[in-house]
Amino acid sequence: MQLVIDREYLREAVAQADKAVSSRTTIPILSGILCTLTENEFILTGSDSDLSIRVTIPREIDDNKVFKVGKLGSIVLPAKYFTEIVKKLPEGQVEIEVKDQSIVHIRSSHSEFQLNGLDAQEYPRLPYIEENKVLTLPSHLFKNLIRQTSFAVSTQESKPILTGVHCALKHGELKLVATDSHRLSQRIVKVETDESLSFENVVIPGKSLAELQRILIDEDKPIEVVITNNQILVKTERILFFSRLLDGTYPDTERIIPQKSQAEITLNTKSLLQAIERASVLAKDGKHNVQLTSAEQTIHISSNSPEVGRVAEEVHVNNMVGDGFKIAFNAKYALDALRVIDSEEVKIEFTGSMSPLVLRSLDDQQLLQLILPIRIYENV
């Protein structure tokens, strides 16, 4: 392999690929970055086996030549040193040349590095995209979907399947669900796709999604999503993102979501959020119990920590149907849920003091946040 490339493009691409490389890997080859040179592209791949990031540098960007191909080929370079070297090289052109099988020479103006590379054959094979099974959607939409659901994944390894976000596609509707068995968040969006394309029980690890969220840009440009047997692929313009899926069957969450409600109120999202934030100030030792009591045209929000003190607040209700109610819940869950509801108004559905509380965005009723209540002891 031999090429001459502009340092700036190389530095950026190496930094992206390096994000997936873990310093604590048990598979030696994964401590490296795979560099592959083809006629038209220079491809860098980093992986920690859970997630992999593949960055493609095209030969020409906006009619500017980015690199000159000398000899095609591929090599794995130790990520730790390769990223440092590229970062510290002076600006201008960088030459990368593989000699004697695995000795890599990196030259730039006056400096020259010799780095011991590893055999590219040893690198894990990543799945290919099958063109007919592609789901296309705007980048910002997918980024938002992740933001609005993935916070609810479980962090406990005892139920590993719940550490991921469940993803399903049916009849052109994409559904994402995450739950840690105390709260649940779900959003369904219509996507333009081939009607025949469908999948279910695809569970993407929350950790991978957090990384993906960082990579996706808030823009209208389309991205491509492909699901294979073991992995999910997300393709943006330059970056191909792979994540292994979680093994196992995701629980049926449809049954948990109440179909009918005893009472429904709508109120201003921001004022409710701020009220709960204030009420949780007095929360002690992570017990963020907040009580919600309905009254005419208002709801009372109160919290009581015997050792610290108590707080009460009223929030104006825009619209109310059904009976009065009283419910207590964990303020942290409510805050997490309200923070991802972007609409001005939020609808709260109440189905009983021991049944889940449902929060919906008024702009998009398919964005749903569900919180399990906490038992209220009347005599306290």
Binding site: I27, P28, Y123, P205, N230
Partner: protein
């Protein structure tokens, strides 16, 4: 360089099993050091993953086989003791691996070397996965001492006994390159070619051998002075714990030889060049005291493993051998 040959019986067993696709979820490879357990585990993984199998035998050349033998296959996980034990974090890492689907294929293999070195937390955590096996996941646990394992782990695995390695062959091979009597001794201490040849080359090993014989002579004498000189010398030439452990092995072989001499079993002697001295000592020991002596050496070995200082271990052992403690 010679590596131990894989046992043909084990090899055939692996081939038959993968060919018939009747694979259990967990195997416990039990056998002495150098019995080829690790090699068999590699072979097993290759037989599962190889894309170009020839009559059940992995090709050893395809990308799966090559990466398995270089420990680079993403669906074959190796766990080795970190320092003195296999820690809970390492098993947690495995647990996480189980939660994910495999990377390239539909199956996963995990190999844990020296399972007996798991901490009890790690062992209990592993147990959970042996109890609820995932489809397509095979566990290979390697051990040279399955009695130290939790019985609950042993009972959840199919045990595969490995025949002990051929010591005679090893000592014959070693004798070609090194001093014959040292080669014979080294092959007794370890059955791994690399370790044995390292012993043959080491000066301390040869010196320790002489020192052990001197020690057995002096133990019978009433004066303690020369004994302590010997112990000082011992710790000087063999400062490492593992070296003292080898020394204790030699001592054990010596007393076994004394016992054999007493019982007139002469074929199996380790120190067969020292017949005269063995005879002389055999007269001074009773059979009962010899077994007591050997038990004392074994206890000393155990104490050494439990991080007792080598000097204290040796001094106590000497007193025991003299029946003063």
């Amino acid at each position: 360089m010679q590596t131990t040959m894989m046992n043909p019986r084990i090899k055939q067993w692996v081939i038959n099993m993968t060919r018939n696709k009747r694979i259990a979820h967990a195997y416990l490879f039990v056998g002495k050091k150098g019995a080829g357990k690790k090699q068999a585990a590699l072979f097993f993984a290759q037989a599962l993953f190889c894309a170009e199998k020839n009559d059940g035998q992995p090709c050893g050349k395809c990308s799966h086989c090559l990466r398995i033998s270089h420990f680079n296959h993403p669906d074959v996980h190796w766990v080795q003791p970190e320092g003195q034990s296999i820690k809970i974090e390492q098993v947690r890492h495995l647990q996480k691996e189980f939660a994910y689907r495999s990377m390239e294929t539909e199956q996963k293999v995990y190999v844990i070397e020296a399972v007996e070195m798991m901490t009890s937390q790690a062992a209990n955590s592993l147990l959970k996965f042996l109890e609820e096996p995932h489809p397509g996941t095979v566990a290979l646990l390697l051990t040279d001492n399955h009695r130290e394992l939790l019985p609950t782990i042993v009972s959840r695995c199919q045990q595969v006994p490995f025949p002990p390695p051929d010591q005679r062959n090893l000592s014959r091979q070693l004798a070609k390159a090194y001093d014959a009597s040292l080669a014979h001794l080294a092959a007794q201490v370890t059955s791994i070619w690399e370790e044995a040849s390292a012993l043959c080359q080491a000066e301390w090993f040869a010196e320790l051998k002489e020192l052990v014989i001197q020690l057995t002579e002096e133990v019978a004498q009433p004066s303690n002075q020369p004994l302590f000189l010997i112990l000082d010398r011992w710790l000087l030439i063999a400062p490492e714990k593992d070296q003292t452990d080898v020394g204790l092995d030699l001592l054990l072989f010596w007393y076994k030889d004394v016992l054999y001499t007493k019982l007139q079993i002469s074929e199996a002697l380790v120190f067969h060049e020292e017949r005269d001295r063995l005879h002389k000592q055999a007269l001074a020991w009773t059979e009962e005291r010899l077994t007591q002596g050997m038990t004392a050496v074994l206890n000393a070995k155990r104490k050494l493993q439990a991080h007792v200082h080598p000097q204290l271990v040796l001094e106590q052992l000497v007193l025991k051998l003299q029946r003063r403690a």
